[in-house]
Amino acid sequence: MARTGVFICHCGTNIGGTVDVSKVLEAAKSMPTVAYVDDNTYSCSEPGQASIHDAIIENRLDRVVIGCCSPRMHENTFRKTVATAGINPYLLEISNIREHCSWVHGDDKEAATDKAIELVRMAVAKVASLEPLFSRQVGLTKRALVIGGGIAGIQAALDIANADYEVVLVEREPSIGGRMAQLDKTFPTLDCSACILAPKMVDVAQHPNITLLTYAEVQDVKGFVGNFEVNILQKARKVDHIKCTGCGTCWQKCLERTPSEFNLEMGKRSAIYIPFPQAVPLKPVIDTEHCAHFKYLEAKEEGRDLPDCNICQQLCPVSAIDYEQEDQIISERFGAIIVATGYQTFDHSVYHEYGSGRYADVITGLHLERLLSASGPTGGEVIRPSDGLLPKTVVFVSCVGSRDEQKGRAYCSKVCCMYMAKQAIMLKEHDPEVQCYIFYIDIRAGGKDFEEFARRAQEEYGTLYLRGRISKIYQEGKKLIVCGEDSLIGRPVEIAADLVVLATGMEPSIGAAELAQRLKISYDTNNFFIEAHPKLRPVETNTDGIFLAGSCIGPRDIPESVAQGGAAAAKVAALFSQDVLTTDPMVATIDPMLCSGCLLCTQVCPFNAIDTQVTRDGRTIALVNETMCKGCGLCVASCRFGAADLRGFTQQQILAQVTSLWR
């Protein structure tokens, strides 16, 4: 027979002021299995805990009910208390008589007292059927996977590597660097973006703890925290990167020319290429779609005749060109995964009023970055894409694909106000005759030195800010006529511009949702990944061992991305500092005798925590992975067979609670 102790906390007057604690104690005395009752002013205080501890020992109690605040507050505190008195910590039941009772029934003390008695009665009924539970320990692989080689991923990889853990950094482009590599200067300090990024990229390449896999993608992910099994697709580069020295002969001698993705198709690159001069690794890949050799091979197969070319193979001093190279699957085990897949810019072709991309001289902010950059397609000279003339009047349009519910983008992209101010300053620096106009809705310059910077763009560099949206842009001769409204003076405005820059917003990189599905992490309606808690767990996901960093979560600027990369790395390092992982025993179980193997639970489980196993009599049934299970109970609710159950909340225990109320 169980010997239950019931302890009621007054919580000062929080509970005691509304609930008549002495009546609750009196009622509890006659409840089944109750051997001892007591009250505390504050059960969670040190004297309160000590009195519970002593009462357990003196009265040989083996189960404890504490009537107090929500278990969210102090369940763990009291588990430790009962454990020190020698009771299994899971033989404790919290009866929430504060949030569920005294706080909501302050106007009716009698009813609140009655309800408290019933709540305690239910807890007493449940505690008698509780069973001791024990944690299990599992090992972990102390190697991290970072997905995405932008600044957030680079920072995360470096920080984990510096904590002396192995890291594999996967990037789907031929070089790491991400969007930051495409930027010219950074606000508000006007540091050269590539100059501050390049040393970090080189550090990644040289770090003994980092394995860099560029031109590679994560294909599928299995397993759980500490024990992920990941297949990575290494796309065929057609170049042996072990032999290649990056001498540059091949990409200098290649005869093919095709639009450069890195320069947003404003410049050309060769078919065997590195995306930009500071690329890491500084070793090329062959774009088989545009390479003359592969075009020749394809034509030969179709029976057509095209001239062959293998100039890169002939000239390579180390014979690194390998036309036969195939895609490869690399399987690795990881203990933790950081997702830092970043953003792409909004496709403005849905904006008919801005020309849907018809006008060559209506460009995006990222295009202007490439034009401003000394390593860009024009060598840093800002010219009109249509005719190469120098623009003198430049109009910026803010919130293109941001704060526009009609285009399905309700959120603010956060960086555009600042990059417009920066670009206006840079244009004026390049050519003092340039006049910039910025059509804005609000100037959002919340950040260290941001407001001062935006003000400088106006006051020192003479940028004219006009508050209002643009209604139409159309071509008239060589000019682009921008029609808008200055809503501050309430008058329509027309500006004849040489160049129009659309401040396109941020959206998640292509494939973000598919990656989230592979990782079983959640994403919102805009396909941004969802953090475990927006404030208190900003770089965690709801899946243990998978962390987030940078603008894959939402619009971020560079310092925030770097901070998040570091934060995620710190979480990984803390995880890896343990030699074993302790699992929470309050998880689902599946009775192998009752399970009929419909496997509905494997489909409803949000944590991918249910595997299958084959029984000795050949039945395929469900099996809970206790490390991944969070004890949400969805499998229990979906199981028609009654095979799934939740430890600490078993069907018997809940029925005991419910039936205790029938009197």
């Binding site: 309606t525 005798m593 009752l594 399970c595 009929s596 193997g597 419909c598 496997l599 509905l600 489909q603 409803v604 050949g618 395929t620 979906s638 028609r640 067979f641 009654g642 095979a643 069907q651 018997q652 029925l655």
Partner: protein
């Protein structure tokens, strides 16, 4: 060539070349009028196979006992949906199955020592005359399809009643239940290793045969079949006290179709509504 002969020829071929070791079909019952299930293992047993408008049983249920044995089975359209259901719920394996589908003109009320030309209730409103899954098809579907609104006229009438009227109606129906569980035994969707009604700990349903316990049994069974019932109506046919179970089942079928645009067993791949969440699913106010 009549349907029976086509089935016999195919079955013989399957047994002789050992594609399967058993053909589940129908043979003439001992009353000389009705049909009963036949398990044919040998070529000479195959000769007893028939098919006509008396072949009422949903044979898919028997596949649950032959999960990993190569089996051929004769299915009507409604039975074929049961096969999809069982495939979807990982109960049977497609590569172990050879499905002889029969385009069905409807089954008559012919039963033990009783010949009738009238179609069974479920067949009068049947929407599916060609099997949804088969390897070999015999027969021609009838030309005309009945009106869907007509199929749910009795459900609509029930919905038109007040909550009190409905309660009184079902209380009366369930009070007659003798808990023989024939409905469960005949249902291809009822395959729990231990039925909730037989669990002792926790004891979900009291053991005595009393109206309130019967009500628990019938309601939970209906909910377990929500979005899973494939409308063969065998439960209602075998009920010895004539509880209108199809009314309950079709009410739930209609709800699932309207809320989730889902019909059980139409294919083997679409995940059950329970397993998916779609943003466009909107739940009505519960009135």
């Amino acid at each position: 060539m009549d349907l029976g002969e086509q089935i016999r020829n195919k079955a013989k071929e399957l047994i002789e070349i050992e594609t399967v070791d058993c053909v589940i079909g129908y043979e003439r019952a001992t009353d000389g009028v009705g049909a009963r299930p036949l398990f044919a293992y040998k070529p000479e047993e195959v000769d007893r196979l028939i098919f006509d408008q008396t072949c009422t049983h949903n044979l898919a249920k028997y596949l649950l006992n032959r999960k990993d044995k190569a089996t051929a089975i004769v299915v009507k359209p409604c039975d074929s949906r049961a096969i999809n259901l069982l495939l979807n719920e990982s109960q049977i394996q497609r590569d172990k199955l050879f499905i002889i589908g029969v385009a069905c003109p409807g089954i008559t009320k012919t039963g033990l020592n009783n010949t009738s030309e009238e179609l069974q209730a479920a067949c009068q409103i049947c929407q599916q005359h060609t099997p949804v899954i088969y390897d070999f098809l015999v027969g021609e579907p009838p030309a005309s399809e009945p009106d869907i609104a007509e199929a749910y006229a009795d459900v609509a009438a029930m919905e038109g009643q007040s909550a009190e009227e409905r309660r009184a109606f079902w209380e009366e129906q369930f009070s007659r239940c003798i808990r023989c569980y024939a409905c469960r035994q005949v249902c291809p969707g009822c395959y729990c290793t231990e039925c909730f009604v037989e669990r002792l700990d926790p004891l979900w349903v009291g053991i005595r045969i009393a109206p309130e316990e019967n009500e628990v049994w019938n309601t939970i069974r209906a909910f377990h079949l929500a979005g899973r019932c494939i409308a063969c109506n065998e439960c209602e046919r075998v009920c010895p006290v004539n509880i209108p179970l199809s009314l309950l089942n079709r009410k739930l079928e209609e709800e699932v179709r309207e809320l989730f645009n889902f019909q059980a067993g139409m294919d083997a791949e679409t995940p059950a509504p329970f397993a998916t969440y779609k943003k466009e699913e909107v739940f009505p106010e519960i009135g």
